[in-house]
Amino acid sequence: MEKAKISTIQLFILMILFQLSNSLLIPLAMKAGRDSWLAILIAAAVSIFLFFIYRALYLYYPSLLLTDYTEKIIGKFLGRILAFLYILFFLYCAARVLREFGVMLLSFAFPETPLFVACALMILVVIYTVFKGIEVVARTGELLFVIMIMLAFFLFLLIAISGLIDISNLKPAFEDSSKVLNTVFTETLYVPFGEIIVFTMIFPYLNQAKKMGKTGVAAISITGAALALTTILNISVLGVPLIERSLFPLLTTIQSIQVGGFLQRLDVIFILALVIGGFFKVTVYTYCAVIGTASLFNIKEPSKLAYPMGLTVLFVSMIIASNYSEHIQEGLKIFPLYVQLPFQIILPVFLLTIAFIKNRKKE
């Protein structure tokens, strides 16, 4: 763990940017069809409970990282293995996001550039930021957050005045509630909301521990609302069948904007959101993997790990799938249930139960 502090507002921004990132761009919860926005809101509400589980763990060990207190909770041997698995999990997540970022950029903006080059350029920036430490990550977040807000505002305004919104696309609402719940618990809860598990690696840096609960709940609610609003916009502009066929619905929405015959082809907004979001998520994941490894193996200067681990993320992102369809199928079918469910929900609950029993004994 490095000696650094971040403020609550920085944590708030980190959480929002991290969760919005790529989920803003890909079709989210589309299994629920027209009601996907509802699935998103429910998933956000459920993830607040998850957040309180992570917070409870943090409150037991306020100065330790997730990868440190696993040792305290379930013993040195098992705890270290678990911590190591968590580090692998973070690395793999970083690689997945990096891959998605690269594919998105390539599939519509730079079709002739090799994927490796796009990802490599991104990871170089990420490595540099991780090298500089959490304070720099947080400050970068503050800067980029302002840009994201302005972009979002500009975009909503343009979509509204270009008259594309057709609310009847959202009807009939609440057609199949079992489908909505199914989507929540098989997909949407894990991506993006469950991913806040990485913040168990960042909470100890917070300078005002008391305000953490409020900050987290506010960040999750705002993210949930923003994602639901984006989905509503996409559905009302494009309609469900088109979103289901689109790899990047928000891009299609942006491409439909035509205001006054000259304000059109605003794809650059999408690219900006993509680069900011992608950069941020990869950075946070890589940082958590780096800091976790440093504390697990007692490495004095965590920043030295930034280069090797960053390059690992890059190479993993190249080999995890041979094409984008495979990548997405893994992301929707296998990854949430077999990896994210245990790492994001089952293991933390398990850890919390043991920590609870242990701490009661002490008293």
Binding site: S107, F108, F110, P111, E112, T113, V117, L121, S168, K171, P172, E175, L238, G239, P241, L242, R245, T252, Q255, S256, Q258, Q264, R265
Partner: protein, 408 residues
């Protein structure tokens, strides 16, 4: 010592990357395609005609350039098994790379639209990176799509622009057309309870001469491009054309009228009073009564009187009221005629099925499989119209009124 040089070293390495020209295309290597026309060959392959902008000859691009001497467009034709192969084959004939990001018009020949439909063609456009989904689709009636894009036009130098402007203006000012783009077409085509509409174009006159500069050298021109009719699609294929009054009726129901003239007869004189709609709103509501779907269409129009060729006292609110009623009847007749026409051809172009799906998803599930063939043609549609005359132009009573008074 080493550290001191590391930063400049990396900066130097990044320099070539910063320019970001991995797959750059210089403007002079691009051939900007303004319109893409597709026909069907006898042997089943596609014939594509590309209308390329010839930038040196477009006035305004270069002030005082060589405009007016040569055509502002060039066209190339190629064949192939799918739209992409067609464009690949065409690029062997053009010295530049065909660039589709500014293609604003996709022209499909009537023959192709009828026999094969658009379903198979549009995937290439939707999937491609350059082609925009805001590209407008039109159908060339009774002629080759290739011929259509070769016709030169006078005021708008790029013919594709001229076609799109005619489309948009007739839609906006006269309510006779629908400007359908790729996205809208596909959206309607995939829905079970809705069918897409596409405007048709014809060329009147001598097409061969209209392809040469002769076309631009007389004020009349050798041939003119005209918007003509709305094509109705079913299952991706062109079914029939809606023409004349039914165009307007269709647009009334679709809530697509922005401004439109409505002419009514008065005292046995044909088209004696002309009303210009400036604001319009159509609400369509779907319900099920006793397991039977019922659609109610409510049209509300506001506008001014523009022509009065009979002596009527328009200062009298009672007379205005009577004119309004005549207008309502007229609009109602047009809308009902359009609906009956659609019911006769069993194509739900108005999206009534989709409305029913939205308001009553349960009964829609039962009706969906046979919607177009059984339920839609037998549908009860209740049309109600409210038309308001807000102003009467710059005058109150027509001068005819005074003329008639003298003879009394």
């Amino acid at each position: 010592m080493n550290r001191k040089w590391i930063i400049p070293f990396f900066m130097a390495i990044y320099l070539p990357l910063l320019s970001g020209c991995w797959s750059s295309h210089e403007l002079k290597d691009l051939a900007i395609v303004s319109a893409y026309a597709l026909d069907k060959n006898e042997d089943g392959t596609y014939v594509g005609t590309f209308q390329l902008i010839n930038p040196m000859n477009v006035p305004g691009a270069l002030q005082g350039g060589a405009s007016g001497q040569n055509p502002s467009i060039a066209t190339y034709t190629a064949t192939g098994g799918n739209p992409l192969e067609v464009s690949d084959n065409a690029s062997t004939k053009v010295s530049r790379d065909l660039y589709f990001a500014h293609t604003s018009l996709l022209v499909i020949s009537e023959e192709l639209a009828r026999e094969e439909g658009l379903a198979t063609i549009l995937d290439a456009m939707e999937r491609g990176l350059e082609f925009r989904t805001t590209t407008k689709i039109v159908i060339s009636r009774d002629m080759k799509a290739g011929d259509f894009v070769q016709v030169l036009t006078a005021i708008d130098q790029v013919p594709a622009e001229k076609a799109i402007k005619s489309l948009e203006f007739t839609e906006k000012l006269y309510g006779e057309n629908v400007a359908t783009d790729l996205q809208k077409f596909i959206k309607a085509a995939v829905l079970k309870g809705k069918e897409p509409l596409v405007s048709g174009f014809t060329v009147e006159g001598d097409i061969e001469k209209a392809k040469t500069m002769e076309q631009l050298q007389s004020s009349e021109g050798e041939a003119t491009i005209e918007v003509n009719g709305i094509g109705v699609f079913k299952e991706g294929k062109l079914m029939n054309w809606i023409e004349g009054d039914k165009n307007e009726g269709t647009l009334w129901v679709l809530d697509q009228i922005q401004q439109a003239p409505v002419n009514i007869d008065w005292d046995d004189k044909k088209a004696a009073i002309s009303y210009k709609v400036v604001r319009q709103k159509t609400n369509v509501e779907a319900q099920t009564k006793d397991e039977k779907p019922v659609i109610s269409v409510h049209i509300r129009a506001e506008g001014d009187l523009r022509v009065i060729e009979v002596p009527v006292n328009v200062t009298d609110p009672h007379v205005i009221f009577r004119i309004e009623q005549a207008l309502q009847q007229k609009i109602k007749d047009e809308a009902e005629a359009a609906i009956h026409e659609a019911q006769k051809t069993k194509t739900d172009i108005f999206g009534f099925g989709e409305k029913l799906h939205q308001s009553d998803p349960d009964s829609w599930k039962k009706l969906e499989p046979k919607w177009q063939d059984v339920y839609f043609p037998a549908l009860d549609v209740d049309v109600t119209v409210e038309a308001f005359i807000r102003r009467t132009g710059m005058r109150n009573n027509p001068y005819l009124f005074n003329l008639n008074k003298k003879s009394d």
